[in-house]
């Protein structure tokens, strides 16, 4: 592990990974920092990506593996940035590495430590749809394939009880309860911030019933439900563990009014979800409550047509967010106004809420630490929306992906490649001075 890198990349989602790989192939040394115990960001939560319904794992796994295997990229998971000083060409950065309690070198990913662990808790990465042990990997196929111990819930680490079950099960002596958080000092010539996004919490829309009614799901929850490495191995089974939905309503534009922008990706995401449902449950009725259909680009409208061809019912609503979702016996009922003014009611088993893309929760802190501005929406502000949308207010610090604003994976990669171009020029200039 060096302490001097050409570039620091913050966030190992699709944008951060692409940027790191491109830079490394261009001969630059990269420190890739990721706050979660695994790399891949949000895109690995998808089973398939629009518009071609390409297998997300097939697409991303080779990149993840190459990144982990390359000597010129130092990946630091469970790591956040604490302090930044200096200028472009030479930033001095303090990283905070949280303890994994499992050695990345010694662990070979056999998984023998999970079973003996006596603690079970909700798996946040799986949108709380399944459980994990206190020593866990977030999902099957997670990379690096090395578990982490949740210190808060581990009996031993939280001081509740002396328990060494996992350590005893490990044949490689990979578990070390005494591991401590570490501060790591590094230098970097340039920084790319690619901290990604979150989706708007939908509990605030009481009329939509999320958190109240079991049949209401967020789009992320649905992605995990459909995923073959997810909590139900891809079976569309409702929270009761038995029922498969016979009819599903997908609600667009949740949060659009409050956030004040169209996220530009939820329509495509909703078509994808509708197609997922039709593939798994061909007889299910699928309704999409939408306002504007936002399908920019040469491929997107075709995907919309595909959803239509699958027999999805598209119901125009000037304000889908204001739909009335209620319980009706064992299922749900949605009341809405048709275009001719008449009120209509449909019964569904499941409601999926496509909510707005918002900045990742770490954004305000990162903005402060790096001394860069956020825009009014909370995303990182870039210097000029027409000419440069990867340069922040601080020279040498660039942003790529959804950290800058809602966008799809393709645009995130384009921004990542653009940031790499800027960084290459920035490093070249600073090398000479």
């Amino acid at each position: 592990m060096n302490n001097s890198y050409d570039v620091l990349v913050v966030g190992a989602g699709i944008a951060g990974m692409e940027a790191s790989l491109l830079l490394a192939k261009g001969g630059k040394s990269v420190c890739l920092v990721e706050k979660l115990p695994l790399i891949g960001g949000n895109i690995i939560k998808n089973e398939e990506n629009y518009p071609h319904l390409e297998c997300s794992t097939c697409m991303v796994a080779p990149i993840q593996q190459e990144i982990l295997q390359r000597q010129d990229i130092d990946v630091m998971t469970l790591c956040t940035v604490e302090k930044v000083s200096g200028d472009e060409g030479d930033f001095s950065i303090t990283l905070n590495k949280k303890p994994r309690y499992v050695s990345l070198e010694a662990c070979i990913g056999c998984g023998a430590c999970y079973e003996p662990c006596p603690v079970s808790l909700k798996n946040e990465w799986e949108e709380n749809l399944s459980e994990k042990k206190a020593i866990y990997v977030p999902c099957a196929g997670a990379l690096p394939n090395v578990p982490v111990i949740d210190a808060e819930h581990c009996l031993n680490l939280s001081g509740k009880k002396s328990c060494k079950a996992c350590q005893e099960a490990c044949m490689f002596g990979a578990i070390d309860f005494s591991e401590k958080a570490e501060k790591v000092q590094i230098h970097a010539g340039a920084v790319i911030i690619a901290t990604g996004f979150d989706i708007l919490d939908t509990k605030r829309f009481a009329n939509l019933g999320y958190g109240k009614f079991k049949g209401v799901y967020t789009s992320m929850e649905f992605e995990r439900l459909y995923a073959s490495n997810g909590p139900t191995s891809g079976e569309l089974i409702l929270r009761d563990g038995e029922k498969t939905p016979k009819s599903v309503a997908i609600v667009h534009c949740v949060g659009r009014r409050e956030r004040g922008y169209c996220s530009g990706v939820c329509c495509m995401s909703s078509f994808k979800h509708a197609i997922f449902i039709k593939h798994k449950l061909p007889d299910a009725d699928v309704y999409e409550f939408h306002s504007d259909i936002c399908v920019p680009g040469k491929r997107s409208q075709e995907f919309f047509r595909r959803a239509k061809d699958e027999g999805v019912n598209f119901i125009f609503q000037p304000d889908p967010e204001s739909l009335d979702v209620r319980e009706n016996g064992a299922g749900l009922e949605i009341t809405y106004k048709r275009e001719d003014g008449r009120e209509e009611r449909i019964s569904v088993d499941m409601v999926i809420l496509e909510s707005a893309v918002v900045p990742d929760e770490s954004t305000p802190e990162i903005a402060k630490i790096f001394g860069i501005e956020q825009d009014e929406r909370g995303f990182f502000k870039t210097s000029d929306q027409i000419m440069d949308s990867v340069e922040t207010s601080r020279p040498g610090i660039f942003v790529a992906g959804c950290a800058e604003g809602p966008k799809d994976a393709q645009m995130a990669v384009i921004q990542a490649e653009s940031a790499v171009g800027k960084v290459m020029n920035c490093l070249m200039v600073n090398e000479k001075t």
Binding site: E18, Q69, C110, Y261, K298, S300, M387, M411
Partner: protein, 562 residues
């Protein structure tokens, strides 16, 4: 040369050792009849991927003077590269090494220990037989030129030129028109989130023209391109009377040829002539830029204007992304010019995917512009019949109608695609190599597609794409550095080739060319990606995929199922 094969079986802790009787495997292999004449060094190790394990391997390879290596352990996807790096520290060529997966695909999936042991022995025997047929493959370096050809002098081309040009990298910027700037230099209306406008573009044009490292060719087009990544040979043709030719060499090519707008008169449902006051959005933007106002053919100011979105959207099958924003800004511009003009905007869906655009729309709506959502429209001269969302039919006749036509690839796109040997997709725009992972590259390495040539998009996106192509070029075509192409490529045996050219047809990367003189096909190993498709397609068996030759695969297979 006497062969000495090292066979190392990893215990992987309990993962393999507990499910497979490794000693028994070793006994079976040593007892194999066919291996009596081969010198085998066969050992087991606790954990080969560990630092200690790797050092052990290195020592074993060197001290035993091993000529071939087989490692039975976890999946090659986990640690093949680890062991290849170990080989690179020794005289052993890393391609004389075969890794056997006896963990994920043996120990972990076969519960019966005896069966798992037999299977492991089979796989390892197969690998030993196979590795003997493997060949040394050597990485090589080829010279490459860092210079770049940019086709198209619009905003994307200008941006790419300025970002790429340096003392060590010449940029050749080719533009078929008389001046640089493209469509973006024709108007100055901007969305509030955009800044710069025509002045900014003019500045970029000046920077380009003043740059020592950028050579500009206006009124010029590309006549031919041959070669490959790092080594393209280009011929330019002047469109002036002399038709002079210029020969250039470049390592990379950026296609930034932009767009045109579909002609609404060619669409059904839009009936008007050039005498009617029906304009495209681009015509109005030019009008506002050059004359500072909107006016009818008669010269008078219109009292009412209707803007129509999504013109050609269904026929083309895609949404052009920029038109909603453009129409809103035109509506605002007209409103600013005169508060009295009645302005209607007929739209189907509002496409405002940028985080700042919704606010702009709200403001313009507040300023008294009527946005009417429709299901479909028909235009006859200046009369528009439209179907409302409730199914009812209505009519509007305005003094002026402004249409937002779909973006289409620029004229000459098909011809250029032929010249460059890159494909177009079903929409007619250039096809990107991979929608997500390689959105500005093409399947021809070294040729990039940016801006509206890549697909309908606006100025911000075009600039981003141009910069993305720069990111690719700056990291791959580095001045002074050589290119190291893929080693596990296909090879055509001249004597077997009948010249049928089947392989040329099946190669997705254009990595095979036909040698007219010799009458045989030849693989360009710089471009070849090693998929083996050509090897499988050759009727004469003239093509071998290195490291996956027929002999190697047969041997592996036969031994594995014996």
């Amino acid at each position: 040369m006497s062969m000495k094969i090292g066979v190392f079986i990893c215990e992987c802790g309990p993962n393999i050792a507990e499910h497979i009787d490794i000693d028994s495997v070793i006994k079976k292999i040593v007892a194999t009849e066919e291996f009596k004449d081969i010198e085998l060094v066969i050992k087991r190790h606790k954990l080969l991927c560990s630092n200690e394990g790797q050092e052990f391997l290195e020592k074993e390879i060197i001290s035993n003077e091993l000529t071939h290596l087989v490692i039975a352990a976890c999946s090659p996807r986990d640690h093949e590269s680890t062991f290849i790096n170990v080989c690179k520290k020794t005289p052993l060529n890393p391609y004389l090494f075969k890794m056997v997966n006896i963990r994920e695909q043996c120990a972990w999936i076969i519960p019966d220990k005896e069966e798992a042991t037999n299977k492991a022995a089979r796989y390892i025997r197969a690998a030993i037989r196979r590795v003997l047929y493997q060949s040394e493959l050597l990485e090589r370096e080829i010279e490459s030129r860092p210079d770049v050809l940019i086709i198209g002098g619009g905003i994307a081309g200008l941006e790419a030129a300025l970002s790429l040009a340096s003392k060590e990298r010449k940029v050749y910027l080719v533009e078929k028109k008389e001046s640089l700037g493209g469509k973006a230099s024709l108007y100055n209306l901007l969305l509030p989130r955009q800044s710069g406008g025509v002045d900014e573009i003019q500045k970029k044009i000046q920077d380009v023209e003043n740059s020592e490292n950028i050579q500009v060719f206006t009124e010029t087009e590309v006549e031919s391109v041959v070669g490959f990544f790092g080594n393209f040979e280009i011929v330019l043709k002047s469109l002036k009377a002399d038709e002079s030719r210029t020969e250039l060499k470049a390592g990379g090519i950026v296609v930034a040829t932009g767009f045109d707008l579909v002609n609404p008169q060619a669409l059904s449902g839009y009936k008007y002539t050039k005498d009617d006051d029906v304009y495209t959005s681009l015509e109005i933007e030019k009008m506002i830029y050059s004359d500072g106002k909107v006016y009818l053919k008669s010269g008078e100011q219109p009292r009412s204007v209707t803007l129509v979105n999504c013109v050609g959207r269904d026929e083309k099958g895609y949404c052009s992304r920029i038109c909603c924003g453009a129409m809103i800004k035109i509506a605002k511009a007209i409103r600013d010019l005169s508060p009295d003009i009645k302005i209607n905007v007929l739209y189907r869906d509002l496409c405002l995917p940028h985080k700042e655009d919704q606010r702009f729309f709200d403001e313009v709506k507040e300023s008294g512009v009527d946005f009417i959502r429709v299901k479909g429209i028909k235009l006859k001269e200046r009369r528009i019949e439209y179907t409302g969302m409730d199914g009812s039919k209505s009519e509007i006749t305005s003094d002026m109608v402004i249409l937002a036509p779909a973006m289409v690839p620029a004229e000459g796109t098909e011809e250029l695609a032929e010249i460059l040997g890159i494909p177009l997709d079903e929409t007619g725009f250039f096809q990107e190599a991979h929608y997500h992972l390689n959105p500005v590259s093409t399947t021809t390495e070294g040729i990039y597609i940016v801006g509206a040539a890549n697909g309908p998009q606006g100025i911000s996106e075009s600039i981003l794409q141009a910069q993305a192509a720069c990111g690719k070029i700056l990291t791959r075509l580095i001045p002074g550095e050589k290119i190291v192409p893929e080693v596990k490529v296909s090879e055509i045996l001249e004597s077997f080739c009948t010249g049928c050219r089947t392989c040329l047809e099946v190669c997705c990367y254009g990595a095979i060319y036909f040698d007219e003189e010799k009458g045989v096909s030849v693989v360009n190993d710089v471009i070849c990606r090693g998929c083996g498709n050509c090897a499988a397609s050759c009727p004469s068996g003239a093509i071998q995929a290195k490291h996956f030759t027929s002999r190697q695969l047969y041997t592996e297979m036969i031994e594995a199922i014996r």
